[in-house]
């Protein structure tokens, strides 16, 4: 323990020392991991660019077509026949749309799906798993068998059926992905809670007369934070990949709207004539997924109970 200077000087100053939480310790360890920190800032930068840069005036509308300005090269400025001046940072596609702003707009959808679906799966999974694990017994068996049944459903067929019954919409995408991704989260949290609930601090909490709900919220869930954070950072890229797969198959985002998955599909369709259309979105997408996976790995090391104090 580091004592403050106040105690050494002999002056009776009642100065409350701040503790270092396990979270702070983990952050400290993460900062030593160069690759994870680079990935962390890279991911923040990508997110900021996707959401902030389109607000800058002069960035072309991602959905506006300029039929006379097809397949321009990168770093080119051109004037359309309506007299509009357009600057193509990464060139234009087969309809004269700006690839750069389409990547940003696709990024907003991909990241949005990633975050929202992860948030949905996090909320459902953590609460479901914590309740099942803590209550235990027959309720636990029933709840986990439901999870098993949902696991057994083939995801692609489920999505295809849902998409054909209801129209294509972004919300459906959230629901489908969220409905699948919380299963693993609930299993992880249940496993954690099973091992935690027999620890003496939970018995101590019961001895204080706390309700089950308070014990779950205040004592059990905070102690599952390590594995949950790790799994969350790995869920975001998994969800984004799922969305990309669906869009690639034409089940996800519909034109003229874009996501990174649908942009890659458009690029793949015109791979021979215009490589830029495939290369730029793929690089951005792959780099983002890499960053998130490296960050997840780094967090796992930083939060690993074996390397942490006690």
């Amino acid at each position: 323990m580091i004592s403050s200077s106040a105690s050494d000087s002999g002056v009776p100053v009642v100065e409350i020392e701040k503790g270092s939480s396990l979270g702070k310790d983990a952050w400290y360890r993460l900062q030593k991991n160069k690759l994870a920190m680079f990935s962390f800032w890279f991911f923040i930068a990508i997110t900021l660019i996707c959401f902030v840069v389109p607000l800058i005036p002069g960035i072309p509308n991602p959905n506006k077509t300029y039929p006379d300005l097809k397949s321009m090269d990168a770093f080119q400025s051109a004037v359309s026949k309506d007299g509009e001046k357009v600057f193509y940072l990464l060139g234009s596609d087969y309809l004269g749309r700006d690839i750069f702003s389409r990547i940003l707009s696709g990024g907003r959808v991909s990241l949005g799906v990633g975050f929202l679906a992860t948030f949905v799966s996090l909320t459902i999974g953590v609460l479901y798993g914590a309740v099942a694990g803590f209550i235990g017994g027959r309720l636990d068996t029933i709840m986990m068998r439901i999870v098993d049944v949902l696991y057994a459903l083939p995801f692609m067929i489920l999505v295809i059926i849902l998409v054909t019954i209801f129209q294509n919409s972004l919300w459906l995408l959230f629901v489908c992905i969220g409905a699948v991704e919380w299963l693993t989260m609930s299993r992880i949290v249940r496993g954690q809670v099973l091992s935690l609930k027999n620890q003496e601090f939970v018995e101590a909490a019961r001895s204080l007369g706390l309700s089950n709900w308070r014990i779950i919220i205040r004592h059990l869930i905070p102690n599952t934070v390590g594995p949950v954070i790790v799994y969350t950072t790995l869920t975001v890229p998994a969800v984004m990949r799922l969305e990309a797969i669906l869009s690639f198959l034409g089940l996800g985002v519909q034109p003229p709207h874009a996501s990174w998955g649908s942009l890659i599909k458009e690029g793949a369709d015109r791979m021979v004539s215009d490589q830029a259309l495939l290369i730029y979105p793929s690089i951005v997408f792959a780099a983002t997924l890499f960053a998130l996976n490296f960050l997840g790995d780094g967090l796992r090391d930083a939060l690993d109970p074996k390397t942490s104090k006690d």
């Binding site: 323990m1 100065e15 409350i16 503790g19 939480s21 601090f201 001895s207 007369g209 309700s211 104090k309």
Partner: protein, 264 residues
């Protein structure tokens, strides 16, 4: 005056050997009757696995008994609905064996102790200054510096953690404290500090205490009366000195012989 009375308290666990194996019944606590006077320290001794910890969890209402009753000041706890038991819980608290496991690693000392104090005074956290003062006082009682109230359990030593656990048990202003091997996870040099603290507190706060241990010398140091437990049964109860100097039961005699002695 009798504060706690156990009448024929029994806890059987059913254990099945494998999936299709026969069910075995383990009699962890087998018909224990005991009465504990207000303000006394009862030492409960017995070897590992004799049911001491199960008995303590039965008294704490953390486990439902198979049969028998726990009577606290004329109130039958075993028959109370869970909501009423929860209301009664601040009166009896427990100090656990391993302070590494009994403190929530994600909560500061402050939040741990506020939670305990609010079991008796639910409105204590309404006013931050009051709560801080109450926590400071509690920490001073167990010999901890209140400056460290915002720290987390992993930042304290084993002895200090056990002091935090004791403070948490005292925060509800209990009348009965069960100490389940509170010093066996600690270094010998720290053990005596914690024992002295417990003895001092039980005198000052007029606590009734059940002190569980497998270490006879520790129990002799702190207890007024001693109950010896073997295979789920109480085999001998008596004044501490009487049990030590003139053990009646065969098992007690064996236990006493097992204390290592240094001959000069």
């Amino acid at each position: 005056m009798t504060y706690l009375e156990l009448d024929n308290l029994t806890k059987h666990f059913e254990i099945s050997d494998g999936l299709f194996g026969k069910k075995r019944v383990v009699k962890a606590v087998d018909g224990v009757s005991l009465s504990i006077e207000k303000g006394e320290i009862l030492g409960l001794v017995g070897e590992s696995g004799c049911g001491k910890s199960t008995l303590s969890r039965l008294i704490m209402q953390l486990l439902p008994p198979t049969s028998g009753s726990v009577v606290l000041e004329d109130e039958w706890l075993a028959n109370l609905p869970p909501a009423l038991i929860r209301e009664r819980r601040p009166d009896f608290q427990m100090i656990f064996q391993d302070p590494n496991a009994s403190l929530n690693p994600r909560m500061t000392v402050y939040s741990t102790l506020v939670e305990s104090i609010s079991a008796r005074h639910p409105r204590v956290s309404d006013n931050a200054a009051d709560a801080q003062e109450a926590v400071s006082e509690l920490m001073r009682t167990v010999g901890l510096d209140p400056r460290y109230m915002r720290k987390y359990p992993h930042e304290f030593s084993g002895g200090q953690r056990q002091r935090i656990a004791i403070a948490r048990a005292l925060g509800t202003e209990p009348k009965l404290v069960i100490a389940d091997e509170p010093v066996s996870a600690l270094d010998v040099s720290i053990q005596s500090q914690i024992l002295n603290l417990l003895r001092k507190l039980s005198r000052e706060l007029e606590l009734t205490m059940i002190f569980i241990s497998h270490d006879l010398s520790v129990v002799r140091y702190i207890a007024d009366r001693i109950a010896v437990m073997d295979e789920g049964k109480i085999v001998e109860v008596g004044e501490a000195n009487a049990v030590f100097n003139n053990p009646q039961h065969e098992y007690t005699q064996t236990l006493l012989k097992a204390i290592p002695q240094i001959r000069v």
